[in-house]
C-alpha cells in the first residue's frame, strides 16, 4: 500500500467512525429517554417521527437555534475552548478501539480500527486524563460558583478513580503482555475473557468507568439539585450540546473499552469451529462487538435510572478505600495466575 492509499483508507475510517459516533450518541440520548420512561411507566418521546425516532434531530436543531450566551464574568477563550476540547477528546479516543478482525475489502487487508497503535491503551488513558481539563476549564472559566464547584469535584473524582482504573487495566496487561488493543483482544480467545478470569478487576473497572464518565450514581460534577448542572451551568446552545455529546460519547467509549479489555472484544467464542466463510465470520464478529457494547450501554442507562447519587464523601471513600485496594488485590491475583500458568 502506498502512502496515499493509507491516507485515504484512514480518512474513510475516520469518516465512518465519526458519523457512527454522532449517530449513536444521538440515539443513545433517545434510548436513555425511552428507557427512563419505561422504568417509570411512562411513554417517553413519541411525537417527532414514528415512535419519536426523529427526536434527536429535533433536539439538535433546537440547540443549534438557541442563543449562545457567554457570561460577563467568563474567561471567553477558555470558555469556548472547553466544549471543543471535551468533544475532540471524546471522539479522538475512539481511534484505537478495534471493532472487528482484519478484513479483505476491495483487495486491501483492512484492520477495523482507525489507528492500530501499539500503545493504544496508554493512549486511551492519557486522553481520558486530558478530558478532566475540559471539565475543569469549563468550570473555572464560567465565572460561576456552581460551575467551579462542579469542575473541582470532577477533577478530584476523576483523579481518584483513575488510580483503580489504571490498576485494573494493569491486570489485563499482565495477560496480554501488550498495550496494543488488538493484542489484548487476541489474548482473550475462546472463553478466556478477562471478565471471567479476573472478575474483581472487571468490577472495579466498570465502577471506575461510571465515575470517569460522570454517570449516575457518580454524577456529582453535575448534581442538579446542588449545582444547577455543575460545570455546564453557564453553557447554552451548541457549546452545551458539545458537552452533552461528549458525555454520551464517553459512555460509548467506556463501553467499547470494557468490551475490548474484558469481554473479548469482537470475538465470539469458538466461532472458528462453525466453519463459516471468512466474510460472514467477520460480519458476525463485528455484530458481536456491537451487541456487547449495546448491552453495556443499556446497563449504564439502567443503573442511572435505578440508583441514587452518592454523597461526595461516600464517593471518595468508595474510590480510595474500596476500589483502590480491590484493584490491587486483583493485580496480585492476576500476577499469581500468570506465575502459576505461564
Amino acid at each position: 500500500m502506498g502512502i496515499l492509499e493509507i491516507i485515504i483508507i484512514t480518512f474513510v475510517k475516520i469518516l465512518i467512525i465519526v458519523t457512527m459516533m454522532l449517530l449513536s450518541v444521538s440515539y443513545l440520548v433517545y434510548f436513555e429517554r425511552k428507557i427512563s420512561a419505561w422504568t417509570q411507566n411512562r411513554v417517553g418521546p413519541n411525537r417527532v417521527g414514528y415512535a419519536g425516532l426523529l427526536q434527536p434531530f429535533a433536539d439538535v436543531f433546537k440547540l443549534l437555534l438557541k442563543e449562545d450566551i457567554v457570561p460577563d464574568a467568563a474567561n471567553k477563550p477558555i470558555h469556548t475552548l472547553a466544549p471543543i476540547m471535551a468533544l475532540v477528546i471524546a471522539f479522538g479516543t475512539y481511534a484505537v478501539i478495534p471493532i472487528g478482525p482484519a478484513v479483505e475489502l476491495f483487495g486491501y487487508n483492512i484492520q477495523l480500527v482507525v489507528a492500530d497503535v501499539n500503545i493504544g491503551i496508554l493512549y486511551v488513558l492519557a486522553l481520558t486524563s486530558i478530558g478532566v481539563y475540559a471539565i475543569t476549564f469549563s468550570g473555572w472559566s464560567s465565572g460561576s460558583k456552581y460551575s467551579l464547584l462542579g469542575g473541582v469535584r470532577s477533577s478530584a473524582q476523576m483523579i481518584s478513580y483513575e488510580i483503580s482504573m489504571g490498576f485494573s487495566v494493569a491486570g489485563v496487561l499482565l495477560f496480554s503482555e501488550s498495550l496494543r488493543p488488538l493484542d489484548i483482544v487476541a489474548s482473550q480467545s475462546g472463553w478466556m475473557w478477562n471478565a471471567i478470569v479476573q472478575p474483581i478487576g472487571f468490577i472495579t473497572f466498570v465502577v471506575s468507568a461510571f465515575a470517569e464518565t460522570n454517570r449516575l450514581p457518580f454524577d456529582l460534577p453535575e448534581a442538579e439539585p446542588e449545582l444547577v448542572g455543575g460545570y455546564h451551568t453557564e453553557y447554552s446552545s451548541m457549546k452545551f450540546a458539545a458537552f452533552f455529546l461528549a458525555e454520551y460519547a464517553n459512555m460509548i467509549i467506556a463501553s467499547a473499552l470494557i468490551v475490548t479489555l474484558y469481554l473479548g472484544g469482537w470475538q465470539v467464542p469458538y466461532i472458528e469451529m462453525a466453519g463459516l466463510s471468512a466474510g460472514l465470520t467477520a460480519l458476525i464478529q463485528v455484530g458481536a462487538f456491537f451487541v456487547k457494547m449495546g448491552a453495556l450501554l443499556f446497563f449504564f442507562i439502567w443503573v442511572r435510572w435505578s440508583l441514587p447519587r452518592f454523597r461526595y464523601d461516600q464517593l471518595m471513600s468508595l474510590g480510595w478505600k474500596v476500589m483502590f485496594p480491590l484493584s490491587l488485590v486483583n493485580l496480585i491475583w492476576v500476577a499469581v495466575l500468570v506465575m502459576l500458568f505461564n
Binding site: 420512561a37 419505561w38 413519541n46 439502567w302 440508583l307
Partner: protein
Amino acid sequence: MIQKKRLKDLTLLEKLYIPEIVKGMSLTFQNMFRPAFTMEYPEVKFVPPASYRGRPVLALEENGEERCVACGLCARICPALAIEVQAAETDREKERYPEKFEINMLRCIFCGFCEDVCPEEAILMSKDYELAFSNREDAIFGKDKLLTPVSKLKDRIEFLRLYK
C-alpha cells in the same frame, strides 16, 4: 463531629449494599415491561372527577337568570384577590345582581374558597383545566365566559351537597 449511634449496626452484607442494589435494579427492570400510565393529552383528554377544582364558573339557571346576587363574599374570601364584583339593582325578586363579575385567571389559585363561601351555590369549580392566554386582558373572564348552565354542573353540585 458528633457520631450518631445507630439503633443497630449494619452487617457486612448490608454495608456492601449489593443485595439492595440488585433488588433495586430488578425492580426497575421489571417496571420496564409494565404498561405506561401516560394519557396522551391533546388526543386523549382527562375527564376529572366531581371533586376536581377547575376554573370557577357562575351557575346559570334554566330560566336564563344567574344565581349570583353579587354579595361579594367570594371577592372577600379570595386569597389572591382574583374576583371583582360590581352589584346593581334589578326588578327580580332577588333585587341584587352582578352588573360586572370578573375573575382574573392569572391571579386565581383554584383554592375553591369562593365556592365554599357562596351562600347561593352560584360560583362552582368546573372541570375546565385548559387555560392558556397570550395576554393579560384575555385572562380576565367576564360574565360571558363565566356563566354556565346548571345542567353542566350537576355532578359538582351533587358532590358539594354530599361532602361540603
